[in-house]
């Protein structure tokens, strides 16, 4: 019964059935997953290689994602969002990342790192001003914590915000900001008190067309080439005081709370890319012949595929659990760190093995696994390196 080439929309994966079998998904969660899967297969995947090659940011896709409600998943209904929650977000993100990691990170950053702290900490006016537009995808969000000399040690950030009447005056430079070239609204962490470290940091929502704010150089990267990574430059940029999230000195706490959610999204990105690696590996193993046999008949290849599938499943369950905990507002910092760390490392192994299974063909730009291999590398670095996550996890185990 293969009439389905027809609409191109319902190229559903049998995989989804297994997934819901081992982890109970509600009816609407399955629908969300199905919509994301259909959309990823028919609208995202076909453009992924081209966007990667051109370094093209998929803004058109963002508008389409917003139309489906995927840009307001953590925004309450009263502000125009769908309030679907972190678990639903994870279901959708896996599918989008399976098709294109650049689109995936754009969606993840917008939902988890930009809209979520505004929902959690902005005052009512600010929420009303930004959230409905964010849910519609009219405002694309970004998150700016890192600086050239403050990466893992984010609390050492130097960019300043100095109060002047009803405004703050911003000066300094942020580095590595995802979606920065296109984003309209930035959640920015700035130092309001130089005599303190983490406690001297405050968070602000900053609009793109603020005077004195500009976007600097666009980085040339190994992977995620369709997602922009830029510097943000503040030169006496003035932001209204009401754009502060939380109160003065709470910025670092807000930033870390936000990252707990973001990390679940990056772990999900890793799972999505790994799943794409597995799907590609399985189909290649069933089609490539050497020594008169399909390579999938060699045990060496079978074991790689079995390991990939097993690790993906484990990572996915860790992600699901962390997302459920976050939705229930239960502690999840350790679980999010574990899920992100495990998922990103297993996904890097999966991508490495996928290239191996493809042999020479996997080293060519023509193969999708070549892109997966490049895209997946970042998952071990951003939103906390693997080393930092091991520190976070061990701290929970060793304190007292």
């Amino acid at each position: 019964m293969n009439k389905f080439a027809m609409s191109g929309r319902r190229i559903a994966h049998i995989r989804g059935e297994k997934m819901s079998a081992y982890f109970d998904l509600s009816e609407e969660e399955r629908l969300i997953q199905q919509t994301a899967r259909d959309f990823a297969d028919s609208e995202v995947a076909p453009m992924a290689a081209e966007n990667d090659a051109n370094g093209q940011f998929p803004r058109g896709l963002v508008e389409k994602l917003a139309k489906l409600g995927f840009m307001g998943m953590l925004i309450p209904e009263q502000y125009g969002g769908s309030n679907a929650g972190n678990f639903a977000l994870v279901l959708a993100l896996e599918e989008i990342n399976r098709a294109c990691a650049s689109t995936g990170v754009t969606m993840s950053v917008h939902n988890s790192l930009a809209s979520s702290p505004i929902v959690g900490f902005a005052n009512e006016e600010t929420k009303k001003k930004y959230l409905p537009k964010m849910a519609k995808g009219e405002l694309l969000g970004a998150y700016a914590l890192s600086e050239a000399s403050a990466g893992s040690d984010a609390a050492s950030l130097q960019a300043r915000a100095v109060k002047d009447g009803n405004e703050y005056v911003l000066n300094g430079t942020k580095s590595w900001i995802t979606s920065g070239a296109e984003a309209d609204l930035f959640v920015v962490m700035l130092r309001t008190d130089p005599s303190e470290r983490a406690k001297g940091i405050s968070a602000f929502a900053v609009e793109r067309d603020t005077n004195g704010f500009s976007v600097g150089k666009k980085e040339n990267k190994l992977g995620l080439r369709a997602s922009s990574t830029v510097q943000l430059i503040f030169e006496d940029a003035r932001v209204p005081a009401e754009n502060m999230l939380g109160s003065e000195g709470e910025g670092f706490k807000i930033a870390m709370w936000t990252l707990d959610g973001g990390r679940i999204g990056i772990g999900t990105q890793a799972v999505g890319i790994a799943q794409a690696c597995l799907d590609a590996s399985v189909s290649y193993a069933k089609e490539r012949e050497q020594f008169g046999k399909l390579i999938g008949e060699f045990q060496a290849i079978q074991w790689k595929i079995a390991d990939m599938a097993m690790n993906i499943e484990a990572a996915r369950l860790m992600i699901y659990r962390a997302a459920r905990l976050r939705d229930r507002k239960e502690p999840h910092t350790k679980e999010a760190a574990m899920a992100k760390l495990f998922a990103s490392e297993m996904a890097n192994r999966a991508a490495r093995e996928a290239v191996q299974i493809y042999g020479g063909a996997g080293y060519l730009k023509d193969s999708s696994v070549e892109r997966y291999f490049r895209d997946v590398r970042i998952t071990e670095i951003y939103e906390g390196t693997s080393e930092i996550h091991r520190i976070v996890i061990s701290r929970f185990l060793l304190k007292n």
């Binding site: 389905f4 027809m6 629908l31 969300i32 409600g69 769908s82």
Partner: protein, 265 residues
């Protein structure tokens, strides 16, 4: 306008279909079900009509089948349907298209629908009978395999462009009518997140044997005029040969193979 949409829950085309040991049915274990593709066109068309009219038009999705088919009603609600009716009773099991159409007719009769849309066929059993049988049972007009609907000014009649062998046929249809939908009629929308969240809160109305007011002998396997005796899978396609080498040699070999092996020349 009151619009009903017939939707069916069918195995996903990607699913490998296996027959049960007695060859009397398909193995349902591990099968993933989705909304019949052609029904997506029907739902989309109904929603488009509602959006165009903006006059309180309602869209009701209707399905007949066991518990699992509720998921397809949810999909229809998530796409934007206003209401959903699940027609289900153990007695309905094993009914053929005609019997099922009679049951659906009983359900929709009291609703006073102006228009009923459905897919041109179910991609599972490919019978393509439900819509015509339903129109027959209701005594309404029918137009099958529609690729375009053009409405009259008063929205009481329409021109349906039907895809037929080698071309199209345009028929004028007066409401009430049953129309079955073909690919090309529209581009079905996705179930959006807000739609999915809203669908979750909508109630699905259940109708059983008593509700349709039929006798158990008139429905299901016992009420059917046809009975499936068995299924058999298609024979495997013979293996495909790919010729390699210089074009001149390939052509020589191809001609030889067509003459001697396939004996078609």
């Amino acid at each position: 306008m009151k619009i009903g949409v017939l939707v069916k829950n069918v195995p996903d085309t990607e699913t490998k279909i296996r027959l049960t040991a007695d060859k009397q049915g398909i193995e349902t274990q591990g099968v993933k079900y989705v909304m019949n593709t052609y029904d997506e066109f029907a739902v989309e068309e109904a929603l488009k009509i509602r959006e165009r009219l903006q006059d309180g038009t309602t869209v009701t999705a209707i399905t007949l089948g066991p518990e699992r088919v509720v998921e397809t009603l949810r999909t229809a609600l998530a796409m934007g349907a206003d209401e959903a009716i699940h027609v289900d009773d153990p007695a309905f099991e094993g009914g053929d298209s005609l019997t099922n159409a009679r049951i659906i007719a009983r359900v929709v009769e009291p609703m006073g629908l102006d228009l009923i849309l459905g897919g041109k066929q179910g991609i599972d059993y490919d019978a393509a009978q439900t819509c015509s049988a339903l129109a027959e049972a209701l005594g309404t007009a029918q137009a099958l395999i529609a690729v375009e609907l053009k409405w009259s000014e008063d929205n009481q009649s329409l021109e349906v462009r039907r895809r037929i062998e080698g071309g199209d046929e345009i028929v004028h249809v007066k409401l009430p009518a049953v129309i079955s939908c073909e690919k090309g009629l529209n581009e079905p929308r996705y179930a959006s997140l807000p739609g999915i969240m809203k669908a979750k809160k909508k109630e699905i109305k259940k109708v059983d044997l008593t509700g349709v007011g039929l006798d158990s002998a008139e429905v299901g396997a016992s009420g059917s005029a046809t009975r499936v005796v068995g299924y058999s899978p298609l024979s495997e396609r013979p293996e495909c040969r790919i010729l390699e080498g210089e074009p001149v040699e390939i052509v020589k070999e191809l001609v030889r193979a067509l003459r001697e092996d396939a004996k078609v020349l």
